[in-house]
Amino acid sequence: MLLAVIPFGIITGVAMVASGIPPLVAMLMSIVVFAGASMVASAQLLASNTPIVLVILTTLVINLRFMMYSASLRTHFAHAPLKQRLAVAYLTADNVYALVLNRFAEHPDDPGKFEYFLGAGLLVWAVWQGAVLAGILIGAGVPPAWRLEFAAPLAFIALSIPFLRDRATVIAALAAAVAVVAFQDVPLRLNIILAAATGIAAGLVFAKRK
């Protein structure tokens, strides 16, 4: 789990400075945004002079899954103090969510849920920021022949597979994959939004059918 954060963090750091973001701003972005996939996508968009509104819209779509995580975490933290809920919100990342939810599923009445989340979240956060910093320092120093940029989609393959829990979620993923390719020529990267909507609709329809 932690090991995987390292290559993805390095790629994110490299991608940000490669797109012309100054190193200090890139590090600050990593700390305040703390969402690798959206930062890699935004870096590419910024490099091609995309309007800021679209960069933020793309960020919104790519990070829409965090809203789902927050709905799911709400069942565990609804009665926690606000400051704890805000800390949980900031530290929510794909792998933290997956790790913590698996644990909560096995120990539903664990009294130390916040402490467990905080521990996992801070550990992932620290390793992630260290990896991004390393990526920023390496900068363009990684030979392109290594094809390290392919590690980003690979990380997302690994993240997505555990969410394919039954036929309906598999259908949702397949429909999203077909749609994102079919809508590829739609401008402004809107194909990701369309694919997300298609996949969700396909999952809902399939589940209803039974």
Binding site: L3, V25, A37, V55, L60, M67, S160, A173
Partner: protein
Amino acid sequence: MTLWLTLIGMALVTFALRAAFLVLPPGIELPALFRRALRYVPAAVLTAIWAPEVLVKNEQLPAGVVAIAVAWRWRMTFATIIAGLAALHFFAWLK
């Protein structure tokens, strides 16, 4: 300036999404359709992010298939990345 606005915008949007349901008061229930739809968000969104890189770029397709198989069988992110990168170089070397 543009860069700073982008940074602030991204940070606000991302935090708002993360906090959305965590800051709602405990009494409020979410609509049933919305709750059912959320279940499919990670599968759909995460797949939509990687699918173009694997399905559109033909030379990356075999490596993507290897990575999917490794992820499916072992569920280990690091192993998936290593296997995928190794497969990418192996298939490029074969040509």
